[in-house]
């Protein structure tokens, strides 16, 4: 297992480098650059040239990438083109809110989606199942911003029960500002994860070993939760990994609508501003989390499906 993890980490390193290179090329391919973005409306071409020179954008792209890479090797992510602040500071600023959102979402998501999936599976084809399917799929297909707009309009503005945004708030000191964003964040993953749990649970409940466990006189609740469920969650773990990835990758829409300045906001701003070092720094963070999250998911997956470890 350890050897497997180490090998995966080595591959992960290559992947991170590849992602960073790809992102560099993509950002290079974008029309305009940081100078154009900074110059704003109706810019004077002369001024753009000046900004370009001031930012060092007149250097060949390859040189800049090389310099950035050698910095990375020393653990230095460089400085923002636009503001001149170290990229690490940006990431540190954005990571706080993003982590809070991601962690709280996951803590709520796992039990909730498992519960819904199990309930739907136990009533497969029945009214409860269909209602749950309709509600979760409905929520899954509503764009986040639409859901957010409605929730804010109703609970934030009309009823005034909850703060409509998190503007200027300290997320930990005023947890009530997190309620609406979390509801919006959870709507989609609850659907995708609970539907996988449901499908897995239906298969597991019909399996020979569950039938056999019942015959052995094991209580129904234990049969459901200790025998059927572990089999049902194995496929959902992969989906959870993708969700975690998504949560850590910055949930742009939710951050924008509720004014939570996390990694997603930084990403959008950095891409819009063509602030290449910041985009690169974010790409490193995203790629590393993806590699780690998927590794963890696979290790958990092996734990849940011991047979697959033999194959891997």
């Amino acid at each position: 297992m350890t050897r497997y993890a180490l090998r995966r980490l080595a591959i992960g390193l290559v992947q991170v480098l590849a992602v960073v290179t790809a992102v560099f090329l993509l950002v290079q391919a974008l029309p305009g650059d940081a100078a154009v973005a900074l110059a704003g409306d109706n810019p004077d071409p002369r001024r753009i040239e000046e900004i370009r020179a001031a930012m060092g954008l007149d250097q060949p792209a390859l040189d800049r990438f090389g310099a950035w890479l050698s910095g990375l090797a020393r653990g230095d992510l460089g400085v923002s083109l636009v503001s001149g602040r170290p990229v690490v500071e940006f990431l540190a600023d954005g990571l706080g809110p993003t982590l809070i959102l991601a962690v709280v979402s996951l803590v709520l998501l796992v039990p909730l989606s498992v519960l819904l999936g199990v309930v739907a599976a136990l009533r497969e084809g029945g009214v409860v199942d269909r209602v749950l399917t309709t509600v979760t799929v409905g929520l899954h297909s509503i764009p986040e911003f639409a859901l957010a707009v409605v929730l804010i309009a109703v609970f934030g503005v009309q009823l005034g029960w909850l703060p409509p945004t998190a503007v200027g708030a300290d997320l930990l000191a005023q947890p009530q500002v997190l309620v609406l964003p979390l509801v919006v964040l959870l709507a989609r993953p609850v659907c995708s994860v609970s539907r996988l749990v449901r499908a897995g649970m239906i298969d597991a409940l019909a399996s020979d070993h569950v039938r056999h466990a019942r015959r052995l006189g094991i209580g129904e609740q234990r049969v459901r939760f200790a025998h059927a469920l572990p089999n049902a969650v194995a496929p959902a773990v992969q989906q959870l990994a993708r969700t975690t990835d998504w949560l850590l990758g910055g949930v742009i829409v939710v951050e924008a609508v509720f004014v939570i300045p996390g990694l997603g906001t930084i990403l959008v701003d950095a891409v819009a501003g063509r602030d290449l070092p910041v985009v690169q720094g974010l790409a490193v963070v995203f790629a590393v989390t993806t590699v780690l999250v998927n590794l963890v998911a696979d290790l958990v997956g092996f734990r849940l499906a011991p047979r697959s470890a033999v194959v891997a």
Partner: protein, 251 residues
């Protein structure tokens, strides 16, 4: 019955809606309640926009889903055939999966500029690695089945073994996936509009309508609610239909 209605209403509206739209639409002030569903954010009649706007949503979501499968399924099946090809084909996809899909969306759309083909391309790009992974898994399992080995022993052609049999056997797995994937495609189209990529901001498109008219939610809720409900109805209807089809097949 409900299931059928949920799918049929949006699809029929999308397909035949444009036929009922007159060419010279009078423009008024934005968000005025002067007709059945009022006006939208640039003063166009919401009902006319609803009639016009289904085609792109349904088209983009359907085409992008179809393309994701058209690319992803052969990709996965070919990868499943040999270990060497597997590495060549699947490693780059791991890479693509390692870049957050929204970053892909933003970058790709920024490079290619707006337009429906671009949007379809981007949604396909975001979706097909997943499809390829699922198909590869399914194909690997099918390739090990005695039924396929028996066919090869019979000297069956590549077409019959790899395409007809493997394809058909993957249907169940893919059908289970398709409902959620279509929903995901609808959602991506809508999110693209929110991020301002891929579609012109005043396009007649249900997803764009939801985004652009949300500022007028307090003045003219229909402009948001009607297109949003149509999208939700389509997704829910499709998923219920797939669920039902799968349950039938399992029995």
């Amino acid at each position: 019955m409900i299931r059928v209605l949920l799918v049929a209403v949006p699809v029929v509206l999308a397909l035949v809606g444009p036929l009922f739209v007159s060419d010279d639409v009078p423009r008024g002030a934005p968000f005025m309640p002067n007709s059945a569903l009022g006006t939208d954010f640039v003063g166009r009649d919401v009902w006319q926009q609803v009639l016009l706007g289904g085609q792109t949503v349904v088209l983009v979501a359907l085409l992008a889903t179809v393309f994701s499968y058209a690319v992803g399924v052969p990709w996965g099946v070919v990868a499943a055939m040999s270990r060497v090809v597997d590495d060549i084909l699947m490693r780059p996809l791991d890479l693509l999966l390692a870049v957050p899909s929204l970053l892909v969306l933003i970058l790709a759309a920024a490079i290619a500029g707006p337009g429906l083909p671009v949007l379809i391309g981007v949604v396909t790009l975001v979706n097909f690695p997943d499809v390829a992974r699922i198909s590869r898994g399914a194909a690997l399992e099918i390739a090990a089945r005695p039924a396929l080995e028996a066919m090869r022993l019979q000297g069956e052609s590549w077409w019959r073994t790899s395409v007809v049999y493997t394809g058909r056997s993957m249907l169940r797995t893919l059908a289970a996936d398709a409902g959620v994937r279509l929903t995901g495609a609808l959602y991506l189209v809508a999110s693209a509009s929110f991020l301002g990529v891929g579609v012109p901001p005043d396009a007649a498109d249900w997803a764009v309508m939801v985004d652009r008219n949300r500022v007028g939610l307090f003045l003219q809720p229909w402009a948001v609610v009607v297109p949003a409900l149509l999208i939700v109805a389509l997704s829910v209807g499709l998923n219920l239909t797939f669920d039902r089809a799968l349950r039938k097949e399992a029995v």
